[in-house]
Amino acid sequence: MRAETITRKPRNRRRIAVVTVALSMLLAMALPLTGYIAHDAGMAWAQSDDAAEEAANPRAEYWRAVREGQDGYSAVPGAEAGVLVQNGGENWRSLRDGPLKFFGGSLLIAVLIAIIGKHLAMGKDRLDSPTGRKMTRWSGFDRALHWYVGISFIILSITGLSLQFGRALLIPLLGKEGFAAWAQLAKPVHDYLALPFLVGFTLMLLIWIPRNILRSHDFAWLRSLGGMIRKDHPQAGFMNGGEKIFFWILFFGGVALMVSGFYLLFPNLGWERETMQLSHIVHSASGVFLIAISLGHIYLGSVGVEGVLEGMVSGEVDEAFAKQHHNLWYDEVKGIAPPDKSSAAPDVSGATPTT
């Protein structure tokens, strides 16, 4: 009995700790909401006051409606010409110049610091013993698609970031005229490159879905962060867990990016300002987020891990690379039966085996 209580204790303690943390988080989220109750009560008061005022002065309601975007008639043609006041712009302005700039900028800086820190601490992830024997990993089509999307993404990133952060960062360097000259080039480049990018990116996302379906061994990979936390070599098929997560962030973030970008690109289709404001927020938030994770992708695909870049440039990787980073794929290509069938369901590979 006694021994049992002693062994249980740490578990109980952990459970208590978890429940306490969860409860305090719940309270922390719920308590500020009580403000709404007070606010709503206040609103009710305010409304009854207004009602009394309206009886005396029906115009009060009239001008309030105008301030809230009431539509009227205007002989001047044009989208929303009848709207005297559109308040959404104030919200858009404070979101764009506040959280989007602050958190977006912080995220990019944090990712850069994390990459530099990781590289200084752990260095390049080298191949244990290169064999010199090559395996085909990426077909010519895959590589062409990758570099087409990658290069256009980088150009779109630079031009897009220029519009978002240029006023704060580049005007002090280039002066207003100098920066305007760059921005006058960057904007049309961003606009006209958008559609070719959209075509390539959509194609890439669609044809790479089968390779990126998450399997049980991918979760084990993610738990040890690909061997960065525990010094083992977690299992991976043609794509490892991290690459698959990167793909799915690209997939969902990319859809948000492209849909919102479409609205921004075609103002001639008659969107109202509210649509453009919302699209802009979605576009810049998803854009900055995708740029941040792409920085990680670029690092790991170039100086971070030996052999990755070679695969995407020549299409071939060293057998040691395949064994070290994509052991299940290696086994599959080499026709080696997986040791445990449940953990290593055949991973769809896009490459044909060679010797």
Partner: protein, 197 residues
């Protein structure tokens, strides 16, 4: 120092669109661009009101805050102007402006808008006063000639007032005192900060 403001007296405006026409003619603005427009509320029913609206030359102008190339500036008279040489036609000022003041000569696919055009309070742009370049880009600079905006000057019922904010509100207050009713300095609470004389 004057602080220039527009005020439209909704009890006087008769929706003749004279201000719109005067503005287009004076500044020779391109086809499709209307720096000023008249909006009629409750059109055709009792209590109908009309209001002439253009750039209100806001105190803390949202257009200027969001412009990626920082092309806006406020003159000593509180007039918000912009530099078309810097403008990239991104349309952000249009997203931000509560009054729908920014106008674009083109509305095409791929976000092609051309350089933004808006009411200058008849005060031109950064170029030399009433030079050919200034006239071509921004229209006439009447303020430099000691005149006030033509829209207000042409207004047949003197509904649209333009000029120093203090004087404009004095005139309006006098009207309210004589005719009764409540003052409605339409748009001022959106455009101007309190204490911005």
């Amino acid at each position: 120092m004057a602080r220039m403001k527009f005020l439209c007296d909704a009890d006087r405006c008769i929706e003749c669109n004279g201000c719109v026409t005067a503005c287009k003619n004076e500044h020779e603005v391109p086809w499709g661009v209307n720096r000023r427009r008249v909006v009629t509320l409750d059109d055709g029913v009792p209590g109908e009101k009309s209001i002439s609206v253009a750039c209100m030359h806001c105190t803390d102008a949202p257009c200027a805050a969001v412009c990626p190339v920082d092309c806006f500036y406020t003159t000593d008279d509180g007039i918000v102007l912009h530099d078309k040489d810097l403008c990239i036609g991104c349309g952000y000022c249009l997203y931000a402006c509560p009054f729908g003041a920014p106008q674009f000569p083109q509305k095409e696919a791929f976000g092609v808008r051309g350089k933004m055009d808006k009411c200058t309070f008849c005060a031109g742009g950064p170029e030399e006063d009433n030079s050919a370049a200034e006239h071509e880009k921004y229209g006439r600079n009447r303020v430099a000639e000691g005149k006030l905006p033509l829209c207000a000057e042409m207004c047949s019922t003197k509904a649209l007032l333009a000029g120093d904010g203090d004087q404009v509100s004095d005139i309006y207050r006098e009207r309210i005192t004589k005719r009764g009713g409540r003052p409605e300095t339409w748009g001022w609470d959106t455009a101007y900060k309190k204490g911005d004389a």
